[in-house]
Symmetry: C2
Subunit: 324 residues, 2 copies
């Protein structure tokens, strides 16, 4: 079995070797740029780990892992443009470094490159991989669409929010594990268990993101704390605060959300203080804990090779208990 | 054999029946909208015609035809956004009717839907169709990239321009015919001949577009004459005029291109008068004629079933000798 370090190093080396020798160069330079910005490479790592649970070699899953990492970065590229984000991983986003049209067109090419990678896998199951990939890709578009629609609403329910992050974040983690598992020789039932595991870890992962953005430690988090509060992002925290608030707390939250001019520190402090009164941090931690427990229970299935799950548990723990 | 009318009716009925029963609805409404705007449906028609040359039934090519029409409309959707076009087929473009983010995201979903259609074809050759589709899709992105780069240049050569329209327009017509032919049972050599035929027709088709935009009859053309001149579009006409101009003519063209404020009628008249002095219309007609002749020669190959090519010739003639 591979260690997590070995898996990570392999992914990094493979991503670095990805080349796009097509012309025009100006279409592919932004693709190489966003892929070079790094990131946790969680999705391709999960694909290799999923494969390695069922197979001592990870070779048969490497190409799928790359396809998913390219696809993930395509979503970041277009999402950054739609969200008008300036910075990605400490560097200018593609539409800032180049322009909006470059981001649109290089993103389109990136989606096609991801499809090309997945369709070129030499495996009798490739048609199934392509289907899983397309289903997931459309779900992610749906998740982004819900996320954008939520911006103009103050009545988003917890259920709607959880469905949105399932689509936008969790299905990619689930699909990464599932395609990896199938590449390694898992049965459909085993692959489905890992998919469900990925969904639960993915939901917990996104909720942890929400939590860290408001309650993280600025020194270790790497981004400014309170960014979500400043832009009124409909996170698990805000949605529940709006639902649970007293009339006075509701008015206070809405007032802050409506303000065009404000002192950032003051807004963060005020909104967080409502969260604190409502014990929102604990609520979010409990939700994370419950998804994490679901995931752990799935992993205890007698259908899975219990002696080969340690790296998957290790990476999940890293995602759950991270501070950045 | 099907008549052109039967082919067209079949395509129209199939496009109309295309449904996207996925959620959220707001992601798919723009896709149904752009597909409902009509258009010539040239690409899917070529796929069915390509099939029908080798097979009395066109059933095995219908799904590929739909995939190509969805893909073509995806390119229109994103190109209209990049070009900031307001009108498509007499109706507001998607980014005007909704907004830029809707156009980006629904376009992405549309590309995925096109892939889903092509990958779900039940045919042993589907992996080849997917490869041809991906190659073509990346070439079209490359063509759009060149087209946008040309906007800021006045030294585009005829060779560069022809390569750009080959990528942006012709490869889709070639691929539509090729996949149709293969679906119908053509040999690889026969399919390649039809691909080359499609390339030549596609180049002629785009040059005809350039010609009609400046020299068409306003009453039958359906768009205002001179639009390309007004926005300094690097067409075959302008590129050759810039290359062939005397110093005085060159200065005149550049002056008109630099002007921010002008009378549209006056600019069109002035630029067209330089074209006329240089006999650019004839030059373009000759170029169209030469591609058309190439295409006709390809069609005379003894490898092709000569008795079954009449509908293909008919549709090519329609494209060549159209006035709108």
């Amino acid at each position: 079995m591979y260690t997590f370090k070995e898996i990570s190093d392999r992914i990094e080396a493979e991503v670095e070797q990805l080349r796009f020798p097509y012309s025009p160069e100006s279409l592919y330079t932004p693709i190489e740029y966003i892929l070079s910005l790094g990131g946790k490479r969680v999705r391709p790592a999960l694909t290799l780990i999923g494969c390695n649970i069922f197979n001592d070699s990870v070779e048969d899953s490497v190409q799928a892992a790359l396809a998913l990492e390219v696809f993930h970065n395509f979503t970041l590229l277009h999402d950054d443009l739609m969200d008008q984000a300036d910075i990605r991983r400490g560097q200018p986003t593609v539409h800032r470094k180049w322009d909006a049209n470059t981001a649109i067109l290089s993103g389109d090419a990136m989606l096609i490159v991801a499809y090309r990678l997945i369709t070129e896998i030499r495996n009798p199951q490739t048609p199934l991989f392509i289907k899983l990939f397309s289903d997931m890709a459309l779900e992610i578009c749906g998740g982004q669409q819900y996320d954008m629609k939520f911006e103009n609403r103050t009545d988003v329910t917890e259920e709607e929010y959880l469905e949105m992050i399932r689509l936008k974040t969790a299905v990619l983690l689930g699909t990464a594990l599932k395609i990896g598992a199938l590449s390694g020789g898992a049965t459909p039932e085993q692959a489905d268990l890992l998919y469900e595991y990925g969904i639960n870890i993915g939901l917990a992962f996104q909720l942890k993101d929400d939590l860290l953005d408001t309650y993280g430690d600025a020194a270790t988090f790497g981004k400014n704390i309170g960014g979500d509060i400043l832009c009124n992002k409909k996170t698990y925290l805000l949605i529940n605060a709006l639902q649970m608030a007293t009339a006075a707390q509701y008015t206070e939250l809405l007032n802050w959300m409506d303000k065009k001019q404000f002192n950032p520190e003051e807004k963060i402090r005020a909104v967080r203080s409502v969260y604190d009164e409502l014990n929102i941090q604990r609520l979010c931690e409990n939700k994370i804990e419950s998804y994490y427990k679901n995931a752990q229970e799935i992993l205890q299935s007698p259908l899975l090779p219990q002696g080969r799950l340690s790296v998957l548990s290790e990476v999940s723990n890293k995602l759950m208990f991270r501070e950045s």
